[in-house]
């Protein structure tokens, strides 16, 4: 029988995530088993505090696991050196203390750091990758602007361009659609879909916009009450996990419309 895990690019086994403390560990979610394949667009959803950010931070190596393993391209991430890991996995985060004085060109160029020499100078190859990243995110026109001059939507695209410049197989995004209006949410989702399907990158992103995710994603991770459900959107809807996702008698889920409504 074909072992599907031999093809998955990002995989977790019996993963528990949370916070390590000297006295007692806080476990936010446990028993997480994921097999994510190349080119998949995966959305992570759940109510506030369910552990979406923690999961992303653990998958990217920014936070240690409480127990269990995270494997990237068949190697456990804790055994991969930071510079090699950076060539395989990149992140797009919000609310980071980014220097206001950075120009868009400088910010995106930073994505090439895992590949440049000890001084950090960009070669012709680096420059080519950077231009590609600009083109794919339609941000070339913003190249010479300062980051603080950008709108939220533009900044998100630029941060994605940086991640693209890093040229990794996997990109993790933490709530990339927050702060964006409807129109920008939609275009961002289109961009992520294109990156996943056309360029063959594996995209994981967390979001509050469950209906959008249901429509666009190949698979979804639903985090609920400390456990995770990992299936295709259709299967998840069938399983009824969304019916009781919100602990409130005021919110219901319409399986037909694939949407929530107020009771």
């Amino acid at each position: 029988m074909n072992n599907p895990s031999s093809h998955s690019i990002l995989q977790t086994r019996d993963l528990s995530i949370g916070y390590l403390a000297s006295s007692v560990n806080t476990v936010i979610a446990s028993d997480i088993n994921l097999d994510i394949y190349k080119g998949e667009l995966v959305g992570i959803v759940g109510i506030n505090g369910a552990g979406k950010s923690t999961l992303l931070r653990t998958l990217s190596g920014l936070q240690p696991t409480v127990s269990g393993e995270v494997t990237l391209s068949r190697k456990q991430i804790k055994t991969i050196t930071p510079s090699l890991l950076a060539q395989q996995l990149s992140v797009v985060l919000t609310n980071q203390p980014i220097s206001k004085n950075l120009s868009v060109a400088e910010l995106v160029a930073l994505g090439r750091q895992p590949y440049t020499n000890w001084l950090g100078t960009n070669s012709d190859t680096d420059r080519a990758v950077i231009i590609e990243a600009f083109k794919n995110t339609e941000t070339l026109a913003l190249k010479d602007k300062k980051c603080h001059e950008l709108s939220d939507g533009q900044l998100q695209r630029v941060l994605i361009a940086r991640a693209l410049a890093q040229d990794t197989d996997v990109i993790l995004l933490d709530e990339p659609m927050t702060h964006l209006d409807l129109h920008h949410k939609a275009s961002l989702l289109k961009l992520l879909t294109a990156i996943a399907h056309k360029h063959g990158k594996t995209i994981l992103f967390s979001t509050h916009d469950i209906p959008y995710a249901l429509n666009a994603c190949d698979k979804m991770v639903v985090m609920k009450n400390g456990s995770t459900h990992f299936e295709t959107p259709a299967t998840l809807i069938e399983s009824g996990v969304f019916d009781t996702l919100f602990p409130s008698e005021h919110v219901g889920f319409d399986r037909e419309k694939r949407n929530f409504f107020l009771k």
Partner: protein
């Protein structure tokens, strides 16, 4: 900014540096004509042997000390501002000059106040060793803490707290000291670039070279820190090691300068801002050499002013650096109306 404008800026900085060096060597309490200055430096004929001595063995080591002090402090300031993502950070934010002050206070004031006999470290290098030991101990404390503390901001606060603590101890020592000892200590705290022996200049230059080398080796990680700790880590920066190297580089630069020339405030904080207003980039590979030259130029200018040319009294370098630099920073910020950081 493109490469052409970088070239012209660096050209201007180089010219300014040369002019400042010449001015610093030519102006002083004793009026020496420029011809004689050049002759002393090139081994030509000098009218008075005392003039040659003054130029070669007093003003020249002083100028070199000024260049090293100005550059070293400016680079330290740049490193600290980037590491802590804080425009108010400077070379002494980790408590280095407070540690040096404590060492020097114990050395000069400890005798009366605590009944300590510091005779066993008396001699030529006593003061320098006391200052270095003080900053070194503070550094050990800070490093010990940094391995336990993940959050870089916490390190900043700890450095400030250590600074307050050592200042308090110094105050107590000063309170119980004799007037002459107090005067010696106060004069040390004014800073002084002159009268270093060539040996001293040599050791200072060595520390400077090592510190700058570490800074150059950190250029890449410094750029990554501009995006914050999380991005830096996911771009491959070896976070703890990079932070450690930056702290060591700063301590070596700021610590050695404080040990040999006393605590010189302001330069480390202001020069990176001055350079950033002039050069519109965040890339440290451009900022580092610009800050090195900017720091040297500013320090040379301040020293030339502090010598109060053609008069017998000199002003403390510490006061001059703030008096000259602060208005410049204020003017620049008012002009551009925003802080580019």
């Amino acid at each position: 900014m493109n490469n052409k404008s970088y070239t012209s800026i660096f050209l201007i900085l180089t010219l300014a540096l040369i002019v400042c060096i010449l001015a610093n060597l030519s102006l002083g309490s004793v009026g020496i004509p420029i011809k004689e200055v050049i002759a002393s430096l090139t081994g030509g004929h000098v009218s008075k042997p005392s003039w040659e001595y003054i130029i070669v063995d007093y003003r020249l080591p002083k100028a070199i000390t000024a260049i090293i002090a100005g550059s070293g402090l400016a680079v330290s300031g740049l490193l600290m501002q980037t590491l802590f993502r804080n425009p108010l950070a400077g070379p002494f934010v980790l408590g280095i000059s407070s540690g040096a002050s404590l060492g020097v206070a114990l050395y000069i004031l400890g005798g009366t106040a605590l009944g300590l006999s510091t005779v066993f470290i008396s001699g030529k290098w006593g003061l320098i060793i006391a200052a270095s030991a003080g900053s070194f101990l503070v550094l050990l404390m800070v490093i010990g803490v940094s391995t336990r503390v993940k959050d870089t901001m916490a390190l900043l606060i700890i450095g400030l707290m250590v600074g307050s603590l050592t200042s308090a101890v110094v105050s107590v020592l000063a309170y119980f000291s004799k007037a002459e000892e107090l005067q010696r200590f106060v004069f040390w705290s004014f800073g002084s670039l002159g009268d270093l022996s060539w040996n001293g200049v040599g050791i200072l230059a060595l520390c400077f070279t090592i510190g700058i080398s570490l800074a150059i080796g950190s250029l890449k990680s410094l750029d990554s820190f501009l995006l914050g700790d999380a991005y830096a880590k996911t771009m491959g920066t070896r976070f703890s090691r990079a932070r450690f190297l930056i702290i060591i580089a700063t301590s070596l630069l700021a610590g050695s300068i404080t040990a040999f020339a006393g605590p010189i405030a302001f330069i480390g904080l202001a020069v990176p801002h001055l350079i950033r207003q002039v050069i519109n980039t965040t890339r440290h590979i451009i900022l580092l050499p610009a800050v090195i030259m900017g720091g040297a130029i500013l320090m040379l200018i301040c020293d030339t002013i502090a010598q109060v040319p053609y008069s017998e009294f000199t002003l403390p370098i510490n006061a001059i650096s703030a008096m000259v630099g602060a208005p410049v920073v204020i003017w620049l910020l008012v002009r551009t109306k925003k802080l580019l950081f």
